[in-house]
């Protein structure tokens, strides 16, 4: 039974990756799970310099969701390359580095440092973080800026380039196409949805930053819809992400056209999630008489005409 998938020139041993911001730098899970179980892992977003991130409180639970404003606290790309990357080398898994920047030039500079480092499989571009005052979603919410960042990163590396798109836009297919034109090899869809949770007693936001990004099962139908729209709009592969906790959730994205998926918030709930999803995935393929997980990619059928994609032609 084949679980391997090809994404952006990468061969992943299975379609499950850990999503950026929910898996640290991977090494935190040493001894708790076998990192070689994962098709790949995407690191916490990295800037050139270390960042403190947002004030606290930073996370709040909402119905079936997690609202966060962490603000990309991190060690900086140089410390990652020097101290963390060598520790990931023993594991048979694709290491994807999530790159951030306050400016287009910073994205390119971080990418050049990553490009020089051994053991990196691909670069994911964070143009969709809702919890920083510059960069992040400000880039991913503007087609011109999206093009500029993706093109600059494309020029800075020979590695596959995977922009992570923001759902906080009216029509994600526009951004999917812009990213493809700018040289992206694949797309990650989606980042968190901008949200606001309020403590009614205190009459204040529950998060210190004010707004935050919503993740978890609450956003899954939105994420599946947007990944489906993006996959229909471009020729490059799409990696689905948003509220996956079991194989059925992952299969929704794959049926909608995603070549691979990322597990996010579920990492916090259960670090053993990969082993379970892989077993469930094998069971699904077996029950459906399939020998290759790729057979489900895009296999969604609509009983009548598909609904409009929302693509502006």
């Amino acid at each position: 039974m084949n679980l391997a998938v090809d994404v952006a020139g990468l061969r992943l041993k299975n379609p499950l990756l850990a999503a950026s911001g929910t898996f640290g730098y991977g090494v935190e899970y040493e001894g708790i799970l076998d990192l070689s179980l994962l098709g790949g892992l995407v690191t916490k977003g990295l800037y050139l310099e270390p960042r403190d991130g947002c004030p606290t409180p930073r996370i709040a639970e909402t119905p079936s969701g997690l609202l966060n404003a962490i603000g990309l606290q991190g060690v900086g790309v140089r410390a990652f390359v020097k101290d963390v990357l060598p520790r990931l080398a023993p594991y048979d898994t694709a290491v994807v580095v999530n790159v951030c920047g306050d400016t287009v030039e910073e994205y390119a500079e971080v990418t050049r440092i990553v490009d020089d480092a051994p053991g990196v499989a691909a670069v994911e571009i964070n143009i969709s973080c809702p919890n920083v005052k510059v960069g992040g979603m400000a880039f991913g919410g503007d087609p011109g800026m999206t093009h500029a960042v993706v093109a600059a990163v494309r020029k800075a590396t020979r590695l596959p380039v995977i922009p992570k798109l923001s759902p906080n836009v009216a029509d994600i297919s526009v951004f999917a196409r812009v990213a493809e034109e700018a040289g992206a090899d694949a797309l990650s869809c989606i980042n968190t949805l901008l949200g606001l949770a309020i403590d009614v007693e205190a009459r204040r936001p529950r998060l210190a930053f004010g707004t935050g990004g919503l993740s978890g099962p609450a956003i899954r139908p939105i994420a599946v819809r947007m990944a489906w729209q993006a996959a229909r709009a471009v020729r490059i592969p799409v990696i689905g992400v948003g509220g996956i906790g079991c194989a059925a959730d992952a299969l929704e994205f794959m049926l909608a056209g995603c070549r691979a998926v990322q597990i996010g918030t579920a990492n916090f709930v259960d670090p053993g999630v990969y082993e379970r999803i892989l077993a469930e995935l094998r069971d699904y393929l077996h029950r459906h008489g399939l020998r290759d997980v790729n057979a489900v990619v895009g296999a969604l059928t609509f009983p009548d005409d598909p609904p409009p994609l929302g693509v502006r032609e």
Binding site: T22, F23, G24, E28, Y29, G31, I32, L33, K44, D52, G53, T56, P57, R58, I59, A60, E61, S64, G65, L66, N68, I70, Q73, G216, P217, G245, C246, T265, A266, N267, F268, V269, D270, P271, G272, V273, R276
Partner: protein, 282 residues
């Protein structure tokens, strides 16, 4: 090394009101947990939210390969745990976090607890007795019903001084008042340990700084993962060698911190304040 397991509930002992003692089978926690460490646990095995919740390990039983937590049912996560019946399963990662460091020989450990903050001091007093240190518990709450598991200390011969804000048990007032009185009476080289609400921890930290006493506090911010990856539970910490505070994960670098390094809301760390005082020309 922590282990992630599905664990059966072995026993459930209601303690009155929202309180209960829950015992789960988990070999790694039972054999390796140190006082001050905790587990991340949730009822059932669903990968969906809510997240697991952190609970201090209250006691371990290596022979039975079990551990016990002291639970106060307050929200969705803790209520679901409170509703478990023996044989039901929970998902549990542990043991986690930095434990209490016992005081040096000849020092008396003063354990200051607020409400369910009493839990880690049961296993800690066992450790202290094994090491031949003397321990004394100062236990505060709103009302007598909040002062649970007192017999655990009586059984071990550890003196316990209760304090309630409504005067229904022990000292009428804050728990730091009998603590101060005890210190004033000339306790022999005391070391303070505190676990409870933030305001109480802050009061103990201030008191320790004023008297130049060592103090360790167990912080309890909202934790998402227990492994330092969600970065939700960070607290500002400033160590002696550092020029400014840094956010550190309470889940992995704590929950126990040296009180002098904690930057409390609304003021700097006592270390920074002391340094500022030293740097101010007389």
């Amino acid at each position: 090394m922590p282990a992630n397991r599905e664990v059966p509930l072995l026993a459930r002992a209601p303690q009155g009101g929202p309180y209960a003692l829950l015992t789960f089978r988990h070999p790694e926690v039972a054999h390796a947990a140190r006082a001050g460490q905790y587990v991340m646990i949730k009822a059932g095995t669903s990968p969906d939210l809510p997240l697991r919740r952190p609970f201090s390990v209250m006691t371990v039983d290596p022979a039975e390969e079990s551990f016990t937590i002291f639970l106060k049912a307050v929200g969705t996560g803790s209520r679901a745990l409170a509703d478990l019946r023996p044989g039901d399963r929970a998902s549990c990662l542990g043991p986690l976090g930095r434990p209490f460091t016992p005081p040096p020989e000849g020092s008396e450990a003063l354990l200051v607890a607020g409400g369910y903050g009493i839990a880690p001091f049961v296993i800690f007093s066992e450790e202290l007795l094994r090491l031949g240190r003397s321990a004394r518990v100062f236990y505060g709450g709103r009302t007598a019903g909040d002062l649970q598991v007192r017999s655990a200390f009586a059984d071990r011969g550890v003196p316990l001084v209760p304090a309630t804000e409504d005067g229904t048990l022990g000292h009428h007032g804050r728990v730091t008042q009998p603590l101060e009185a005890y210190l004033d009476a000339g306790a022999a080289s005391p070391a303070l340990y505190a676990c409870g609400p933030d305001a109480m921890l802050h009061a103990v930290a201030r008191l320790a700084a004023r008297r130049g006493l060592p103090a360790q506090v167990s912080l309890d911010p909202w934790m998402g993962c227990g492994l330092g990856t969600c970065l939700g539970c960070v607290v500002p910490i400033q160590r002696a060698e550092e020029a400014r505070p840094r956010y550190r994960c309470a889940c992995t670098e704590g929950p126990v911190f040296d009180a002098v390094t904690v930057v409390w809301a609304g003021e700097g760390s006592s270390l920074a304040r002391r340094r500022a005082l030293e740097e101010t020309p007389a």
